[in-house]
Symmetry: C2
Subunit: 373 residues, 2 copies
């Protein structure tokens, strides 16, 4: 994206002094608060979310999990069957459609996904399998707080496994647990989270663990995995016949990752003062190239050559070219604030085919005539 042509954001000049991470994300044009607990993801925020989703998809597909898409608008009947239509309390948004049917918009999907899976399970040969999806969830939180950490609407990955028995569930649970570790490492949380035993709360079941990150505002939860056992499958009568033709109840697990919450957690744990830092794979735009003086033809040409090379390789959605007619100080400040993974500065050495480069892992600008990747 060329900033001379596209008005991506109007990053406010971030002032000195401490900003909360929510404030920093707002100033930098990642998110915008619309009302209590409701946020819009601006282009930078949406792209980080897309990048996290891509990594989740890759790691889950690699262990044989299958992506699906559940309707967010649901009839109340399934929720009544498990008793959660009443148990869930005021956190659930409930309303009637034009035909006076009771409807909800979902905050979690154990009932619906179990009803869907039931149709595909007859015999032990149909088991086990795990489905995942990522979409927005809705909870009428009484106390929305801390930006994207506790909202009324949030992006969440929810996954559900359907297993033969406890041993089979434990196998899936551990595979997902390992996939979570790979995901959190890849997005920029290596050695920055811990896994703790947890209360299963509204979701229920026997065993559950939380993936926790410690931040300045306390602990925030980024992932939660549950062994549900037969809590939902028994109420919704999901059974199979085993090898000896005996009827057995399916055992379930469920697994969540707070995707929009991760945007804020990543910003929080990797920020450097009022500068954001995103790992290469999740950075909104992986590469940013700033031209010191666009009136100098050799600078603009060398920058555009790199821009073409990088967009050909990584896609136009991965590269920012700052070719605006403005002072280099403003450009550098924006690049640092926005936390692009690889920053490239093209100035007077362009005539010698040289540029300066600064990577996530390094604080210093280094002059080079080599590759940017």
């Amino acid at each position: 994206m060329k900033l001379s042509k596209n008005k991506l954001y109007s990053v406010e000049r971030v002032k000195d002094g401490h900003l909360t991470t929510t404030e920093l994300l707002e100033c930098a044009g990642y998110i915008k608060k619309m009302s209590n607990g409701l946020y819009v993801y601006l282009n930078l925020g949406q792209k980080v979310i897309n990048n996290i989703n891509k990594i989740v998809r890759e790691e889950f597909e690699a262990i044989g999990m299958n992506e699906i898409g559940l309707n967010q608008l649901q009839t109340a009947d399934l929720w009544r069957a498990t008793g959660r239509y009443d148990d869930y309390g005021k956190e659930m948004f409930k309303f009637k459609d034009r035909s006076d049917n009771d409807m909800i918009i979902s905050g979690t999907n154990e009932e619906l996904v179990t009803a869907v899976a039931k149709d595909f399970i007859t015999s032990y040969k149909d088991l086990s399998f795990t489905w995942f999806q990522t979409n927005n969830k809705f909870r009428d939180e009484i106390r929305c707080s801390n930006g994207l950490i506790r909202c009324k609407e949030f992006v969440m990955m929810d996954a559900y496994s359907f297993n033969l028995d406890k041993e089979d569930l434990e196998k899936t649970y551990n595979e997902v647990r390992e996939a979570y570790k790979r995901i959190f490492d890849r997005i920029g949380l290596k050695d920055k989270y811990r896994i703790v035993g947890a209360d299963s709360g509204e979701i229920g079941g026997s065993v559950s663990e939380e993936f926790i990150v410690d931040t300045v505002d306390g602990e925030v939860e980024i992932g939660h995995i549950f062994q549900l056992d037969d809590k939902y499958s028994s109420k919704l009568d999901v059974t199979y016949t085993d090898e000896n033709n005996n009827k057995k109840t399916v055992i379930m697990g469920c697994y969540g990752i707070g995707i929009s919450r991760l945007l804020q957690v990543l910003a929080e744990v990797n920020r450097d003062g009022n500068y954001l830092n995103f790992y290469s794979e999740v950075s909104a735009y992986q590469f940013a190239i700033a031209v010191v003086d666009v009136k100098k033809e050799e600078q603009l040409k060398w920058a555009e050559a790199w821009y073409k090379s990088l967009t050909d390789e990584y896609g136009v959605g991965s590269v920012v070219l700052d070719d605006r007619k403005c002072k280099i100080g403003k450009k550098l400040h924006e690049m640092d604030t926005l936390g692009y993974a690889v920053k490239v500065l093209i100035g007077k050495k362009a005539s010698e085919y040289k540029h300066e480069i600064k990577r996530w892992s390094s604080d210093d600008w280094k002059e080079t005539d080599g590759d940017i990747y």
Copy 2:
């Protein structure tokens, strides 16, 4: 994905005789109806939707459009400001939150996106720009019909442009119009749609055009583009100062593509009897490899070598290996029904490193020892 390990779907043996496209998609395990106007996308359906979204994103980013993510849950105040809280009628899902605030879940987003953009527009230098997003939309349809064509919840791409004046809007409108053509060509609708002038309906504005596909059930609309002019920007007071320091009202366009509707339209226009056919770039799994007899070691080995090569190149989410212990007739029937773009059959010629291949564009199996791609 290896079918010996993953239970992707339980494709019902599609019977002879005519099935509607909705029935065919249900039998083949692409979608599942949950209640009136509410569908779940099973893995195959969700993957086609993901692939369409990827193409939309590529084509839109290439013309400088920026992806964002709007909240689906919205307060009523903005909708009251334009009068549409009442005008929209019973198609809008309305309810109260726990604090007695009037809320809606959105079927379209002119109000919200205009309120967001307003913050970024002061001067003519801030214009023009175009934002897009894809998420689920909600409409309380009185008559849901024809599967994914008219639903209460559906996946839709909605885009909004903010322009200087009518001429600038027309330029953006035409760029988006051309991008639509490229998108529809790439997903499998080349020469299968037409563009007609349309009534602007609830959305409003001056000029609008629909992208129409003719199917057995009549016309179904896959895209709609609008020149909104100042309908929303004047009511929400979105202005800028021009080069002469005069205050001007921003001019807008909006653009929609029915993504989940396209899943059914693609299935409809490219089906061959009860066999589905998806273009390479949108096919749920681009490659499917069936092993004739998994007990023959050379067949399984040759198939697994191809499986590894293709997953290394295209990702594990692009390849199905049918290595189940079942009759080849069942495997072939499933491959044909599900409409994978490239089908590969590995049988007794595996010892000579040969396989048979059938591509979307061809009806015949061809023996080869060459590349599968």
